[in-house]
Amino acid sequence: MINSNSELILEISDLHAQVEGQKILNGVDLQIRSGEIHALMGRNGSGKSTLSKVLAGHPAYKVTNGKVLYRGEDLLGFEPEERARLGLFLGFQYPVEIPGVSNIEFLRVSTNSRRKQLGEEELDIFSFEDFVDSRLKLVQMNPSFLERSVNEGFSGGEKKRNEILQMALLEPILSILDETDSGLDIDALRIVAGGVNQLTNQDNATLLITHYQRLLDEIKPDFVHVMSSGRILRTGGSELARELEDSGYEWIENELPKTGES
């Protein structure tokens, strides 16, 4: 919900970034306050995942210009694990498989690192199992996934649920969900969306990266941004997403350059 007095969680200004010597982000500006849900849309290859990786601190992506404030602090100065502990969560578009590392162990180490940061007590194996159990329900995931290796052999949809499970465990302040809806069947989409809705409140914020109205029907965004060639081209309310669904991206891109647009 929009409340211009609420805390400014994320403030991106004129962010430029490159990977493998190739410029991908060309001046992104974006502000997210607590309690808000933002949707980020745009053509394939426009730089959405790149933005999310840069925010999460992927070492392959180099920031060449601009700055990012996270709750008033310089986000780019933090290591990836520090960002996570500070409450930044990235749900990956393509979660990696990590053979041999058990999912439950991974989840426990990661949850405890966040809890430590929050000054909460770390959970031992048994109390962690209870904690996970309660969260599993949220995403209606079968406990057998806990015993398997991280994401290994998970179907596309199962990987996405595992991401949301992690979000539920880590209780982030800012969640960036990169195409969490892709690969989900209709029921799963509702479950995942329900999970996200339950996890959002006035003190946190969400950035949804998606291509489809479907998800936005379930999780109502306060703002919709359209990205093109590494820049946010246009920002609007939830009606913008519906217009895109009907008419595609071309009309926005053709409209430009437009000045003074916010």
Binding site: A56, E81, L90, V96, G100, S102, F106, V109
Partner: protein, 427 residues
């Protein structure tokens, strides 16, 4: 005739086999293997030391190899000193343990459980060297060395159902070179769990040779733990012969050897069998750890799934040569081999050579090899969940080993394999 061998620092080694302490300490051939000893010594003498010009020895650190041969042969007379660097767990509850030391009858033989029988000398004659011959291993230098030294063989026939599992522990002796030989016949419709543990002690060296026959419908889960310590070394050859419809699953771990050379050879004599190899070798400090595996299909419809992992840390050298041969009769073979390697330090080195030799057209064979550091994407994924870099790296390292160790149902817990493997390793 001895060919020239050159050490890492360019020194030429000229020592001949006959000048080694080991050779000098060989006693007159005796026992059931006397004639084999005699002929092996003759041929080894004329062959001399292996040389870098031989394909399978080309990466060998000959200085390390020679230092093994500077230990005298341990004999049955010498003090049995099984205390290695290792705390031995209690034997498996559903099985029994044999302790094997060179020259003497293995401990615990008095009372073999039902289904386990020693071969008599007639039977022994019939099977001795058979698997070696079928695997084409007879000319191998390590086999020749073992044949020259060993004067006794533990030959077991296993038959029946619901058998207890067998644990065979072989310990090296400090300051000595020991040689042991085993033959294992797994008869029709028999399933056996078999764990072999090879323990090194300070400055021990070991030569081990085992021949395994799997009859039709037999199945063997073979676990092999080779944990060295100090400056211990081993040379080990396994020759496995599989009849159709048999099932062989082999998982090996090698760690802590200054020098080790492991040669698993397997032949599916009429194809139609299933083979699974899992290997993990860890080289640290200045060690050289090598695996040379050869797998051949002499009949159709065989199946192989092989995954070998190596880790090189410190200034060590980890070597893998894996050869798969699919000759013409082996139509419809399906074989997959993967060699994965991790380099953990910039003074360590990995050599890997996965080989395919194929003459049959209707086959599905793949192999792959990777040499990398820990995967950046995986590290990042974990860090993005708040796990510190070092912890994430160690978790990954553990996962990397776990993939192999998880196929050690017999020994995993009791022998604390994961702990031993990870001890001293940093991602």
């Amino acid at each position: 005739m001895d060919r020239e061998r050159i050490t890492k620092d360019g020194r030429k080694l000229k020592m001949s086999l006959q000048e080694t302490k080991l050779w000098e300490s060989l006693s007159e051939p005796r026992g059931p293997l006397a004639s084999i000893q005699l002929s092996a010594r003759e041929s080894l003498k004329s062959r001399g030391m292996p040389a870098a010009s031989e394909e399978t020895w080309r990466l060998t650190d000959f200085q390390l190899l020679e230092s093994i041969l500077h230990l005298p042969l341990s004999s049955s007379a010498s003090e049995s000193n099984c205390s290695s660097v290792f705390d031995m767990p209690s034997p498996p509850t559903e099985g029994f343990r044999l302790m094997l030391s060179p020259g003497s009858e293995p401990l615990g033989l008095e009372s073999l459980p039902k289904g386990f029988n020693l071969l008599n000398s007639e039977e022994l004659k019939e099977v001795l060297g058979k698997a070696l011959e079928h695997c084409g291993s007879n000319e191998d230098w390590s086999v020749g060395l073992n044949n020259s030294c060993v004067d006794n063989v533990l030959a077991l026939r296993v038959e029946g159902i619901d058998l207890p599992s067998l644990e065979l522990v072989i310990s090296g002796k400090d300051g000595e070179f020991s040689a042991t030989r085993v033959i294992l016949l797994v008869e029709k419709n028999t399933h056996l769990n078999f764990l072999q543990v090879l323990l090194g002690a300070f400055n021990s060296a070991h030569s081990h040779l085992i021949e395994i026959h799997l009859a039709e419908n037999a199945s063997l889960n073979h676990e092999w733990l080779a944990f060295g310590g100090g400056k211990s070394s081993f040379l080990s050859h396994i020759a496995v012969e599989q009849q159709p419809k048999s099932d062989y699953s082999f998982t090996s771990i090698q760690k802590g050897w200054l020098f080790s050379r492991f040669e698993p050879c397997l032949v599916q004599v009429n194809g139609q069998a299933s083979t699974k190899f899992r290997g993990l070798q860890i080289a640290d400090s200045n060690e050289q750890i090598a695996t040379n595996s050869t797998i051949r299909f002499d009949g159709p419809e065989g199946d192989l799934d092989q995954l070998h992992k190596g880790i090189a840390a410190g200034t060590s050298h980890s070597i893998f040569n894996g050869c798969i041969e699919v000759p013409q009769p082996a139509q419809r073979t399906s074989a997959a081999q993967l060699s994965r390697n991790l380099l953990l330090s910039n003074r360590s080195r990995v050599d890997t050579k996965p080989e395919l030799k194929i003459v049959a057209d209707d086959v599905r064979c793949t192999h792959g090899a990777t040499v990398t550091e820990l995967q950046e994407e995986q590290l990042f994924y974990m860090r993005s969940r708040g796990i510190e870099q070092i912890a994430a790296a160690n978790l990954l390292l553990r996962g990397y080993c776990q993939e192999i160790i998880s196929s050690l149902p017999m020994s995993f817990d009791r022998w604390k394999v994961l702990e031993h493997v990870l001890e001293g390793l940093r991602g």
